[in-house]
């Protein structure tokens, strides 16, 4: 998994990279890569890469990074896993390429030599990478289609710096802490900082599914090489008979799980009592080797229906997996809280669960674990798949009347102040439900735009909203049109909640424990295969198909169980930590936590 960073003094007047800065940034990511560290300089001394290693595939020194090609013309620093590297390697070897290691990293070098920037289209997996191309005197940066692995960039016009974490770039000491209004507003709207923004003006994320070239003439426009909306739009032409849906889910998810088991170390599974993780465990165990599963149990829930441990144990038993149940209590939560906020790269209203399950996995000696994350986005598991299209239909026509929404909000607030206070989102119903993005914001949003003026500087809110331009960003994620209601919500959930919150949380929370979290249900190949049948996943059909995918199928209580998730007690602790004790309306807990987390993670305006 690892952490990567680099400094490229691409503009000739710039000073060459400072070694101390390179190592400060690299070693700020020590937790991401406890197994080794490397640094590399280009021949002309203008470009330097750093790498912290968590050894998973070819754990020998031959897999160390940054890795330079035999002839010295290409160097890569890479964070992630390429699950189809054995096939890629076979193809390349058949074409006469000779390999020196067994690592997936080396494949990247040979593939780049053969295909140039197009190589990223052939990779199945999660990745953030930088490749130095000596002949062209520049660097290619790239990030996987879903944005599973992070890549942040600070370009000042002379020098480009990049790293796996925002905080690591700041730790280098050469980049300004000036606040980015769009990032601050975005966090309060959505509960996570929406890419490409960060909380800092000088630092941006390379967007998911994009590659960017940088040389002495500057950083070029990032080019999109994979788009979720486009994958869904293209699939609308393909017709799949209804009776094949389950078979296709079984085959494609099974193939993704097998691909994600590729490792030279043990791969465990995060297990709740839900369908996604249970199906993954079933399919993983069906693939051969015995597996170990990790389940969190909360003291508060012992012997209550909310306790997931008994049902998880049943699943584990059904598939012959070893089962580790890790208890977590409020005291441990409070003890870990400082470490959690320290590890949190950018503020997030979630991620605490992942912290504890990753901690438990690491205690069990695991370096890699599968997570069922992404199942709700892919298989229409969220309430948003029902609500967003419905709201859009019900209120959309009214919302199209200019000014109607804002007027309704004012009238409601004047006529029913109590209702307005307890249901702040109801006020935005008319204003935002006119578009898919607006309806999504209503469903997922933490605060609505008009509420931000209540606690943030009004100029910052105005500036931030203009820079963020949420409506345009929602539209972008739906272009080209995915062609179905399920497809549209999948595209929105994948581009916002999944990308900016769930995946980012999995990254920092896993990495803080030196654990690689793999997500077989967040896989572009899988998405492409399921895209033609995805419109039919609504109403629980998608999840039912997944529950039936392993052999034997999941126990009935799991398939029928309403989604509770093991998040509930953690939410309660989080909110209790942040609450001030005053009476608040619904959803106030998450909002207080947002303020609390923001106050502890943002380092705005500090001098560089």
């Amino acid at each position: 998994m690892c952490g990567i960073n680099g400094i490229f003094a691409y503009n000739p007047p710039a000073n060459p990279p400072d070694e101390a800065e390179l190592l400060r940034t690299r070693d700020a990511m020590a937790a991401r890569g406890p197994d080794g560290a490397g640094a590399w300089w280009s021949g002309d001394g203008r470009c330097a890469f750093g790498h912290r290693r968590l050894a998973i595939i070819d754990t020998s020194p031959a897999g160390a990074q940054p890795m330079t090609s035999f002839d010295g013309s290409l160097t890569v620093t890479f964070n992630g896993e390429i699950y189809n590297y054995p096939e890629l390697r076979r193809t390349l070897e058949a074409e006469g390429v000779r390999f020196r290691s067994n690592s997936d990293t080396e494949v990247l070098l040979h593939l780049y030599r053969r295909d140039g920037a197009d190589m990223v289209r052939r990779l199945r997996g999660m990745f953030a990478l930088a490749i130095w191309d000596e002949a062209r005197g520049g660097v290619m940066l790239a990030r996987d289609p879903y944005g599973i692995k992070p890549l942040y960039i600070a370009d000042d016009g002379w020098t480009l710096r990049f790293a796996s974490q925002v905080k690591a770039i700041l730790a280098g000491g050469a980049v300004s802490f000036d606040p980015e209004p769009a990032g601050i507003v975005g966090f309060h709207l959505l509960g996570s900082v929406p890419e490409p923004f960060t909380l800092y003006r000088a630092i941006r994320s390379l967007p998911a599914g994009h590659a960017q070239w940088v040389d002495a003439a500057g950083a070029r426009e990032p080019r999109r090489f994979a788009s979720i909306a486009a994958a869904l739009a293209e699939a609308t032409k393909v017709v799949v008979p209804p009776e094949e849906i389950r078979a296709r889910v079984r085959a494609s998810v099974g193939a993704s799980v097998r691909a994600h088991l590729l490792a030279d170390v043990e791969v465990g599974v995060f297990l709740s009592a839900g369908i996604d993780s249970g199906a993954l465990l079933g399919l993983a165990c069906g693939a051969g080797q015995p597996r170990r599963a990790i389940t969190l149990a909360f003291d508060e829930f012992r012997d209550s229906p909310a306790d997931e441990a008994p049902l998880a144990a049943e699943i584990a038993q059904r598939y012959g997996a070893g089962h580790i149940v890790r208890g977590v209590g409020k005291a441990e939560f409070e003890r870990d809280l400082p470490a959690i906020t320290a590890a949190m790269d950018q503020p997030s209203i979630d991620g605490v669960n992942t912290w504890f399950v990753a901690k438990a996995a690491r205690e069990a000696g695991l370096k890699v674990a599968l997570s069922g994350l992404g199942g709700d986005e892919l298989l229409a598991g969220y309430p948003s798949f029902r609500d967003v299209p419905r709201w859009r239909r019900r209120f959309g026509p009214l919302a199209a009347v200019p000014g109607a929404g804002a007027l309704a909000r004012r009238v409601l607030r004047a006529a029913a102040p109590r209702l307005a206070r307890d249901n702040p989102k109801a006020l935005g119903m008319l204003e935002h439900s006119g578009s898919w993005g607006g309806a999504y914001l209503l469903r997922r949003g933490l605060f609505l735009p008009h509420e931000l003026y209540g606690f943030l500087d009004p100029d910052l809110v105005r500036d931030g909203l203009a820079r963020l331009d949420p409506a345009r960003r929602f539209r972008d994620s739906l272009t080209p049109d995915p062609g179905s209601d399920v497809g549209r919500v999948t595209a929105l959930e994948s581009a916002f909640y999944l990308r900016n919150q769930l995946l980012r949380d999995a990254d920092w929370a896993g990495m803080a424990h030196g654990l690689e979290i793999r997500v077989p249900l967040v896989d572009f190949t899988l998405l492409t295969e399921l895209a033609p049948i995805l419109p039919r996943f609504g109403g629980g059909a998608g999840k039912a198909a997944l529950a039936a995918a392993p052999s034997p199928a999941l126990p009935d209580p799991v398939a029928e169980r309403a989604k509770t998730g093991f998040e509930v007690p953690v939410r309660q602790w989080m909110h209790a930590t942040a609450e001030t004790g005053t009476a608040r309306g619904r959803g106030a807990g998450a909002r207080s936590w947002a303020h609390w987390v923001f106050g502890r993670t943002a380092m705005l305006g500090k001098a560089a």
Partner: protein, 363 residues
């Protein structure tokens, strides 16, 4: 590509006009024509090409001092021929340049200089600016400021620094000093307009620290080159501080007089907070004289973050000057060479050549 790349340059001034911006426009456009073979049509408000000969491939149209006449001429030029690119020499002209670019589907390039781009322009100019295909900035500071007030994405602003002309080279220091009538005192020099509206140049900061330098046993003179309405205030400030004899106001210096003046100084110092780039720092260092400035605005670019010149915080100005005066002598040839390597004509030509290649890339 068989056809030559055509550029319509909408600028305030280029050939036949004084000033740093005109100089930069000449440098950039000439190099684009010479290095990349671009065909360039210049429309300026002032100056005509008669006095200085533009390079082959450059045509400068009749100047249009009036606003309406300039707009009409710009749109007419853009409508009659198809240009690949409209070059906009100043932020305030971005709306016109954008309109001209849209007429026949040309791309738009906007050049940013200094302080004028540090705060948000009027809405119309900002909107037009945000539609630019590419923006050039002379410094990192100006680039960061523009990224702050605009929604432009970072990859759309590239930095091409100012360049220093070949006349600024080390030379006979002794004769330079004799010609200026300087005795064996250590000489601090500033070059810049004494404009009360541009009081940010910071000559007053140096006058403030002079008594301390002299009290430390140093024989110091401060030579102030440049003219302007702030001179009276600075002169009285010098008397007030009791250093009237140590401060010499030279008034406006002709171009030809600058290289010997730079050579004559022991230290070029300009504690300015408002330099878009600070070309005078480059001129001084290229002439072999060490330079000192504040870590503010574009000055860190000219000083290469301290690798060429010294950057300090305002409150450390006195001790920093003392340290340089008391320290080891600078090797003028080495300093000049280091400046030329980063900011010389050859470096500038290469940068513009890369810009031309980037413009010719398909997207």
């Amino acid at each position: 590509m068989s056809r030559r790349f055509r550029v319509l340059a909408l600028v305030t001034d280029a050939f036949g006009a004084p000033g740093g911006i005109a100089q930069y426009n000449r440098d950039l456009l000439t190099t684009l024509a010479e290095e990349a073979g671009f065909e360039i049509v210049i429309l300026a408000r002032r100056g005509s090409a008669g006095e200085t000969t533009p390079a082959r491939g450059i045509t400068q149209l009749r100047p249009r001092p009036g606003r309406i006449g300039y707009i009409a001429a710009a749109l007419r030029a853009a409508a009659t021929r198809r240009f690949d690119l409209v070059f906009c020499g100043h932020l305030y002209a971005a709306p016109l340049a954008r309109a001209a670019a849209r007429l026949r589907g040309s791309r738009l390039l906007v050049q940013l200089h200094g302080i004028d781009a540090w705060t948000a322009p009027r809405r119309q100019a900002r909107k037009a600016f945000e539609r630019a295909d590419l923006v050039l900035s002379v410094s990192r500071f100006t680039r960061a400021a523009a990224l702050g007030w605009s929604r432009l994405e970072p990859h759309r602003i590239a930095v091409i620094p100012n360049t220093v002309r070949d006349v600024f080279v080390p030379g006979d220091r002794r004769s330079s000093r004799l010609a200026l009538g300087l005795d064996d005192r250590r000489v601090l020099l500033s070059v810049g307009r004494l404009d009360s509206r541009e009081a940010y140049k910071g000559q007053d900061r140096i006058i403030d620290v002079l008594p301390g330098l002299i009290a430390g046993g140093r024989r110091v003179a401060y030579v102030v080159a440049g003219e302007g309405d702030d001179r009276i205030r600075l002169e009285s400030l010098a008397r007030e501080r009791g250093v009237g004899d140590a401060v010499h106001f030279l008034g406006e210096i002709e171009e030809a007089g600058l290289p010997p003046l730079y050579r004559a100084a022991d230290l070029f110092v300009m504690p300015s907070t408002g330099e878009g780039f600070g070309i005078v720092f480059l001129e001084a260092m290229a002439s072999g004289t060490p330079a000192l400035g504040l870590a503010a605005g574009g000055a860190p670019d000219a000083m290469a973050d301290g690798a060429l010149g010294t950057l300090v915080q305002a409150e450390r100005l006195g001790p920093a000057i003392a340290a340089i005066l008391d320290g080891a002598e600078t090797d003028p040839a080495a300093l000049s060479g280091a400046v030329a390597e980063r900011f010389g004509r050859a470096a500038f030509r290469r940068a513009v050549g890369r810009l031309a290649d980037r413009l010719a890339e398909t997207s």
